[in-house]
């Protein structure tokens, strides 16, 4: 039988198109528009083509921020994923202890971003902060406002503290979904706990871990508030990540054209990385499904 064609079906899609147009397409097009114009005043603008794109792509400051950003995001993934899975494995699976530990674990997730920054700003201070004082007492010189490495590590520690619980909760949910029979079969087969993890738990966590990787990558790649509150991007440029650089460009210097061009590049970079991660993780699953 032939499929019936009816052009009125398009009407059904119109509401979604309108919503998407206002929420995504039109704002994005405004940015595209800015990125190819030189705005001189409220009513003065000149079309400049790809000039801003060429400018921002050659900007050494931006290269530095991008490099820092990539290293930072990879470090976040490399720490938070294994740590989150480890925590999930260590959590009790049932009983009152399970719910209690989940609540405690989720606490950092409830703290607003700028408050996280403030907490760590005080926590890390060498004169009154618990962390700062403790580390300095141990004989390690630590000052995140002056030392680039210290600042960098503090921002990283802050992210780990803030977001590892999310990974742990996702992994915990994934672990809970594994049927008991798998563990029973593993015991019958004499599997060690490493073998059980490697061949039962890890493969069955792939779905939630894919989500965790994407969420943590995108989030950390766009990090703004916490380093802004903690270090303001310093010392020097040590903790100036992409979104901070962008804000400085757009709001600080009011360079709307270059900022718009840079926004688009930024957007494409996030999209590209997410696509690569997603494809890598799902195609690994697909290979196994064949």
């Amino acid at each position: 039988m032939e499929k019936p064609f009816n052009n009125r079906a398009w009407l059904l899609v119109v509401p979604v198109l309108v919503v998407v147009a206002f929420s995504a397409v039109i704002p994005l097009m405004t940015v595209v528009n800015y990125s190819v114009q030189d705005i001189l005043g409220p009513d003065q603008h000149v079309f400049v083509g790809t000039e801003w794109f060429r400018k921002v792509l050659r900007d050494p400051e931006l290269h530095g921020a991008l490099k820092r950003q990539i290293v930072y995001s990879l470090a976040v993934l490399a720490i938070e994923l294994p740590l989150g899975v480890g925590i999930a494995l260590a959590l009790p699976m049932r009983g009152r202890a399970a719910s209690a530990s989940l609540v405690v674990l989720a606490l950092p997730l409830l703290v607003p971003w700028n408050v996280v920054g403030t907490i760590w700003q005080i926590f890390g201070r060498g004169d009154i902060g618990l962390l700062g004082v403790a580390v300095n007492r141990m004989g390690v010189h630590y000052n995140y406002t002056a030392d680039a490495a210290d600042a960098w590590l503090t921002v990283l520690a802050m992210d780990v503290w803030h977001w590892t619980p999310l990974v742990a909760l996702l992994a915990y949910a994934g672990l809970r979904a594994i049927p008991e029979a798998f563990y029973q079969a593993a015991r019958i087969d004499g599997a060690s706990s490493w073998a059980t993890f490697r061949f039962i738990q890890l493969p069955r966590l792939r779905g939630v871990l894919t989500i965790a990787v994407l969420l943590r990558f995108m989030d950390s790649f766009m990090i703004y508030t916490e380093p802004f509150v903690l270090t303001g991007g310093g010392p020097g440029n040590a903790t100036t990540f992409l979104s901070q650089y962008l804000t400085r460009l757009a709001v600080g210097q009011f360079d709307l054209g270059p900022a718009a061009a840079f926004s688009l590049v930024y957007f494409l970079v996030v999209l590209l990385f997410s696509y690569v991660f997603y494809t890598a993780m799902t195609s690994a699953a697909g290979r196994e499904a064949r």
Binding site: A181, Q184, A185, R187, I188, D189, G190, A195, P203
Partner: protein, 388 residues
């Protein structure tokens, strides 16, 4: 190859009841057994079925044998060694689960190798064992495949293979392994299982709630109900001499006729009609009734007369020692038909051959052959041949 003994083994999932003052005997003060303490011996190389309705404790008992569960009471012995406290990995027991467990990031061959690798078996030996088991289970062409996206019967064959691959395996426990398999491959797999048992002779314990599976696979069937073993016997014994009304109606399709009756003058009286029964059974039944009534103050022991629909005989009208029943319904089942008839206020089912004319409303004269007729006192059959 092993002999498995369960000595007073019982299990309760609830924590032991708190020892409150004077708690004994009170409602809720007693242990809630999932499996009541029982004695069972599984002979070396035997094929056993553990049959019973869902929730009767079959799987619990299986998990106790394999060591996944430590029983709350009693001891488990394998070849005379007490293994009650031993974990499953040291028990040399293989278990196949209802929903096949496959390690789907491995190939089929790696799946089969897994139990051996975990035990540090040398590589060459692993290869040889895999080849053997794969040929038995017809998995050889698929060995290099990844073990994901496979059909249910193949998955179940692989998980069976993981059990067979271990040379030292003492017993194979199967927990309703065929429930998720399509009907048309079910019989192939069942035949495969039977072949495996005949060639390798492991002790086989097969849990099922499907009587056909139990009766075709096992030499001995253990029937369980509500956490208790109600009868252990060959399929024939279970069919001909059910020891308990539960076995009577659970096994057979339709189940045994169990009619309420009273005893009088060497016969059972079913709604006013006399059914002669064997002398020995009658004597024992009377005694059992007396014992039951003396023992419990609860009142009269329930009496039922039991006979299989297949063994009830239709006789000529007014035939000697026959009872009259009126046909209510006739079910055509191909080669035979089942007539449902009213005997007084009770229902009796009779299997008739397809040639015999019968229709709803007809009067049927039935003989209940004393040889195949048993009296049940409070659910238990009166033993025809000696000790109670």
């Amino acid at each position: 190859m092993a002999r498995i003994e369960l000595r007073g083994v019982g299990h309760s999932y609830a924590p032991p009841p708190a020892r409150a003052g004077g708690g004994r005997g009170g409602p809720g003060g007693e242990t809630k057994w999932a499996v009541h303490p029982l004695e069972l011996v599984w002979r070396d190389g035997g094929a056993y079925a553990l049959l019973g309705p869902s929730g009767c404790g079959k799987t619990t008992l299986l998990n106790v044998i394999s060591g996944l569960l430590r029983p709350s009471a009693g001891r488990v012995l394998i070849d005379g060694t007490d293994v009650t406290a031993a974990p499953p990995e040291v028990r040399n027991i293989a278990q196949v689960f209802q929903f096949p467990v496959i390690y789907d990031t491995m190939t089929v061959a790696e799946n089969l190798a897994f139990p051996l690798r975990n035990r540090g078996v040398p590589r060459a030996e692993i290869q040889a064992r895999i080849a053997d088991v794969a040929s038995i289970l017809e998995l050889t062409p698929d060995l290099r495949r990844r073990a994901s996206g496979l059909s249910a019967d193949m998955r179940q064959r692989i998980s069976l293979g993981r059990g067979l691959v271990r040379k030292d395996v003492a017993a194979i426990l199967l927990d309703e392994p065929l429930t998720v398999i399509d009907p048309h491959v079910k019989w192939q797999l069942r035949r495969k299982l039977k072949e495996v048992h005949e060639s390798l002779k492991p002790t086989l314990v097969y849990v099922t709630h499907d009587q056909v599976e139990a009766l075709t696979l096992a030499d001995q069937v253990v029937v369980m109900n509500e956490g208790r073993v109600v009868q252990v016997g060959t399929p024939q014994e279970l069919f001909e001499r059910p020891a308990h009304t539960f076995v009577g109606y659970f096994i057979g399709s339709p189940g045994m006729n169990l009619l309420a009756c009273t005893l009088e003058g060497g016969a059972a009286i079913v709604d006013g009609q006399r059914v002669p029964i064997a002398e020995a059974i009658y004597a024992r039944a009377e005694r059992a009734v007396r014992d039951a009534e003396d023992g419990a103050q609860a009142g009269r022991a329930e009496l039922r007369i039991g006979v299989r629909p297949e063994l009830v005989r239709r006789v000529a009208e007014g035939g000697e020692a026959s009872v009259r029943a009126e046909v209510v319904q006739v079910e055509e089942l191909g080669r035979y038909r089942i007539a449902t008839a009213r005997l007084g206020a009770q229902i009796i089912k009779v299997r008739l051959s397809e040639e015999e004319p019968v229709a709803a409303g007809d009067a049927l004269w039935l003989e209940l052959p004393p040889r195949w007729t048993t009296i049940y006192v409070a659910g238990r059959a009166v033993a025809a041949d000696g000790g109670e």
